[in-house]
């Protein structure tokens, strides 16, 4: 709308023509001009359309600009009030009160508050008077729960005060119930007078309001009356407050009484939303029976659970994770001493258990040493032991045991509620390193670092044989699902993406910079062999248009060969063979030189990559993962990708290499032996060197009416935000031609829901065209998703691999025990995937886990 718009000069001709038309319809055109334009119009229909549009607009503008010949006015009443408003000096008067009558859209809350305020003053006055009276009466009746007295009257009044809202009326049943309640209180004091007064007040304040609202309040109040009859004062009051929409204005003052002796007053220091439930203890077995994997599931299925928060009989400790650590979440009973200790640590813990809400304020309730409840469940051990504990063990209740590995660092196994967050976005990064590392660790019975387990690298270690798309399709998607073998109401969904095969002439020239670790540890024969094989594979993939720079590094980096053409790269092998391996490992310097060289031979149209081959951790120079990763990121922004190849498993700095290759948009391989550097590796390498899809991101949008909750298994380090999906500046993984990538979700479908599970979107850069490609597929809802043991072999493979990874991640023996249930399925897999080493490896790993868990 701005004259300063720079109109496209290419369109000046058209613009000029349009201007003429506008002038014409404005009556500016001469007869000659008019005739000419008429002619032009018949020639160009679009001009005719334009003319009509302009005429329409003119009409509108004319009407807009002209003064109203028949002005509309607001209804007189409203108008008068409004004018009054606008003319009034004080801004306060703008409160909707005066306009309330005619404007339903203006909030009633403020008005309600105002009225409530005035009510409360009157009540307060009445309360004061009666308080005075009762103070006198009550003094002789004071007893141990001293606080009881001074509060007893006030809550009653305030409660009524709440109910005195102008908009609600106390229906007669309420009044009657109120009287019942009052009678109960007469056991303590004689307040009949006060009550009657209050009721009278209530009746005075009756006002007509909508029928529904009264009923609503009425029914709400019924429940609360029942509560009153049973529970302590305070809880009921608070419940009423909530219902009435009050915002705890008096909450701090209205603590109600806090008995230290009765069970009722202390054990439950919560807001009860469902008071009628009895309270029971939930041992570990039930968690297993229900198949609950986290506390949400647990409490859903269990109708009664004991919840007392810190001040109750519970001690609620820190981070939740999984079934295995369920007892830690749900808390454990303990004697006073331990409870205090745990209190200190879990102070700010807020345990949210449906249907109760427990607030963990330092409300030292009753923590018993003496009841059976406290004794039955030891704080430390697993819940499985707890149910079987006997008295003798209890005498020496052990101290709370801390998990060997920090639970906080593990990914959360909580499901995401679809209604809250229906979108799941991540970078489709595939690798298999974690699987191999775990395989080795299990084989040698060595320590498995749980934080290094990446479930996506487990189930992506396999070739599922999904169909390859046609070349013009670029990417295809294959989706299947089955019921979760170990959890109720959950399905596992396997989403597989596959990239099309490379077309002819898809090869870009390569500019490789190879950083070879020549530190002392690389002297080992097996490592030497592995490196040799790897380099052979690499060299075999190079052509005359490619260039390789070789840098050896130990304490210092050394440029061994610069920009050698691919067809002469065989020499590199000789150079490597003749380079002695000695010294420490200074990764920082190596990366620096690597970057320089890569930049030196950088070429826009080529694949520019740095490939790092190393066996171990950097022990010289800067070894800070983050900083090194940042420098890698800088390179990536310049267009240089970064691959890492770990040689040997021992001492491998998996975390470092994973981080670097992730930041560098490159691959991460691990070669344990020369055999690993086989044809498969060569293929991977080849594919990686010429990615067919870059910045590959996956986004799944779940349908909240069909999916209650979901969980992406794995890809923890690759999660993205929803908006990153279409933000092409946000980098993501690469996929090679014919490469497949799988994602496994655990979903909780709603059989009564509507629609499909959701939609899958994939978005990536096609290097051959330089364009972004985005495709989507439906994630269908299968009402009769097959049971796991009847699912397709590929589904079973992915599922078992994923579950194995998760079990290893959690590191709980109970999980391992459950995993055994999958054994028959796993054992049958090699039959479906003949001659597949990886599948055989998986079976072996399962067996090893079984052995370990039996110990």
């Amino acid at each position: 709308m701005n004259h300063d718009d720079n109109k496209n000069t290419a369109n000046t001709l058209a613009t000029e023509l349009e201007a003429r038309v506008v002038a014409w319809i404005s009556g500016e055109a001469s007869a000659f001009e008019a005739a000419e334009l008429e002619r032009l119009i018949t020639d160009k229909p679009e001009l005719a359309i334009f003319k009509r549009r302009m005429q329409a607009i003119q009409g509108l503008v004319a009407e807009a600009v002209r003064p109203e010949k028949d002005p509309l006015r607001l209804s007189p009443d409203r108008r008068g009030k409004l004018l009054q408003e606008l003319g009034v000096t004080k801004a306060d008067a703008l409160l909707p009160q005066s306009a309330r009558v005619e404007s339903p859209i203006i909030s009633l809350k403020a008005e309600r508050r105002a009225q409530r305020k005035s009510r409360r003053w009157i009540l307060a006055a009445a309360a004061c008077v009666t308080l005075g009276l009762f103070g006198v009466m009550l003094v002789p009746n004071a007893y141990k729960g001293g606080r009881l007295e001074t509060r007893m009257d006030r809550p009653l009044f305030s409660y009524k005060g709440r109910s005195e809202n102008a908009d609600y009326a106390l229906a007669p049943p309420e009044a009657a119930k109120l009287q019942y309640e009052v009678k109960r209180r007469e056991e303590f004091t004689e307040k009949k007078k006060a009550v009657e007064e209050a009721i009278a007040l209530a009746e005075k304040r009756k006002q007509a309001s909508s029928e529904e609202r009264r009923e609503l309040e009425g029914s709400g109040r019924d429940q609360r009356m029942a509560a009153l009859a049973k529970m302590g004062r305070e809880i009921a009051d608070r419940a009423v407050q909530r219902q009435n929409g009050d915002d705890d204005e008096d909450a701090p003052a209205r603590r109600g009484y806090q008995a230290t002796n009765t069970l009722a007053g202390s054990r439950i220091r919560t807001e009860f939303k469902d008071i009628a439930s009895a309270i029971t203890v939930l041992p570990k077995e039930s968690a297993g029976d229900i198949g609950a994997a986290d506390k949400q599931a647990l409490l859903q299925y269990a109708s009664n659970t004991e919840a007392g928060g810190i001040q109750g009989n519970f001690v609620a400790p820190a981070a939740p994770a999984s079934v295995g650590q369920l007892e830690k979440q749900v808390g454990s009973y303990g004697g006073k001493g331990e409870a205090d200790k745990a209190l200190a640590t879990a102070d700010e813990e807020k345990l949210v258990l449906s249907p109760f809400e427990v607030s963990s304020s330092k409300n030292n309730g009753y923590i018993s040493k003496d009841t059976l409840a406290a004794k039955q469940i030891k704080k430390s051990g697993s819940l499985a032991e707890k149910a079987k504990s006997d008295d003798s063990r209890l005498e020496n209740a052990p101290k709370p045991s801390q998990p060997a590995k920090k639970p906080n660092s593990l990914p959360s196994a909580t499901e995401i509620i679809t209604a809250t967050e229906p979108v799941s976005t991540f970078s489709l990064h595939v690798s298999d390193v974690s699987f191999k590392v775990a395989k080795e660790a299990l084989a040698h019975d060595s320590d498995l670092d749980r934080e290094r387990i990446r479930p996506e690298e487990f189930y992506n270690a396999f070739n599922y044989g999904d169909p390859t798309p046609a070349l013009n399709e670029k990417i295809s998607c294959h989706i299947e699902q089955a019921a979760h073998p170990l959890m109720q109401q959950r399905n596992l969904v396997r989403i597989a993406m596959k990239v099309a095969a490379a077309g002819r002439g898809a090869g870009q020239p390569l500019r490789l910079t190879v950083l070879l670790d020549t530190s002392g540890s690389m002297e080992r024969e097996d490592r030497v062999a592995a490196v040799r094989r790897a380099m052979q594979s690499l060299v075999s993939l190079l052509g005359p248009n490619d260039r390789v720079t070789l840098i050896g590094f130990a304490r210092q980096p050394r440029l061994l060969a610069e920009s050698v053409p691919g067809d002469q790269a065989g020499e590199l092998l000789n150079i490597i063979a003749n380079t002695p391996a000695e010294g420490g490992t200074n990764l920082e310097e190596a990366l620096k030189l690597g970057r320089e060289q890569a930049q030196r031979q950088f070429e826009e149209t080529a694949q520019n990559r740095i490939v790092l081959l190393t066996d171990g951790a950097a022990n010289l120079g800067n070894a800070d993962r983050e900083e090194l990763a940042t420098s890698i990121e800088e390179s990536r922004k310049e267009g240089i990708a970064f691959d890492a190849c770990g040689v040997g498993m021992e001492g491998l700095d998996d975390a470092m290499l994973e981080a670097l290759s992730r930041k560098g948009d490159g691959r991460y391989y691990v070669l344990n032996s020369a055999e690993d550097a086989d044809a498969g590796f060569a293929r991977q390498l080849a594919g990686a060197l010429r990615p067919a899809a870059k910045n590959v991101k996956l986004q799944v949008r779940f349908n909240p009416s069909r999916v209650r909750s979901y969980r992406l298994i794995g890809f923890e380090k690759h999660r993205l935000r929803e908006e990153d999906f279409r933000n092409d500046k946000v980098d993501a993984a690469e996929l090679a031609a014919e490469e497949a990538a799988v994602a496994v979700y655990q979903v909780e479908p709603l059989p009564q829901g509507e629609g499909e599970l959701g939609e899958v979107f994939v978005r990536f850069l096609d290097p051959s065209t330089g364009n972004m490609v985005e495709r989507s597929w439906t994630l269908p809802y299968e009402a009769k998703a097959p049971a796991f043991d009847r699912a397709s072999p590929t589904m079973q493979l992915a599922g078992t691999a994923a579950l194995l990874a998760e079990t290893l991640q959690r590191g709980e023996k109970e999980d391992a025990a459950r995993l055994n249930e999958l054994m028959p399925i796993v054992k049958a897999l090699p039959g479906h995937f003949p001659d597949n080493d990886r599948v055989d490896d998986l079976v072996t790993m399962f067996e090893q886990v079984k052995k370990l868990s039996a110990e």
Binding site: A23, V61, A64, R73, R79, L82, I105
Partner: protein
């Protein structure tokens, strides 16, 4: 909130040319009361065009004025603000009350239910007013001279000092922009 004392004195006209103009064309009237007098009808029509119901329209207009009143001092272009704000309130209302039956409230009898075309036109005209109010003053004065005063290009050129062809070019520009903006707002043609 500052306290403002409003006097119900209309703004003295600044010059001969402007003397004939409706108050609303100036950038900011002295007080909201004047603005109200000038814009009440137009806004009401617009609101009716948007929501279709007189009662609701009146509430919306009322609410809009009240809101403007609160932030009067901060608003540069109150006319544009009014239309924008009214539009937003109306859209919010429509979004929150999608299934309101047309004829349930008592005001249905108080006026003939406006035919759809009328509503559409009201909405379109209101939108145009909104856009006009948000235009730069130079454009607005051109529009005013052309469509309110019904002047020929030559006359306009004389008054504004622009060349005739420039006048033509600019008017064409303005109309085109208005048309495009209306289309973006979902209003096609003149019938809404």
């Amino acid at each position: 909130m500052e306290s403002l004392v409003f006097e119900n004195i209309p703004l003295p006209s600044a010059g001969a040319v402007k003397a004939s103009l409706p108050e609303s064309m100036n950038s900011k009237p002295a007080n909201i009361g004047t603005l109200f007098e000038a814009e009440e009808s137009g806004l009401l029509r617009y609101a009716i065009g948007l929501v279709g119901r007189r009662m609701v329209a009146e509430e919306l207009v009322q609410e809009t004025f009240l809101r403007l009143h609160k932030i009067w001092a901060e608003v540069d272009n109150p006319r544009g603000w009014l239309y924008r704000s009214l539009r937003n309130l109306a859209l919010n209302h429509l979004r929150d009350n999608p299934k309101e039956a047309e004829l349930t409230d008592e005001t249905a009898q108080s006026e003939a239910t406006l035919p759809a075309e009328m509503l559409g036109r009201n909405e379109a005209v209101g939108m145009v007013r909104l856009l006009l109010a948000e235009m730069p003053e130079s454009d607005r004065s051109l529009v005013r001279l052309k469509y309110h005063d019904d002047l020929q290009y030559a006359e306009i050129s004389k008054r504004t000092g622009l060349s005739v062809s420039n006048v033509g070019y600019r008017l064409h520009h303005v109309l085109k922009a208005l048309a495009d903006n209306l289309r973006h707002a979902g209003i096609e043609g003149s019938q809404g």
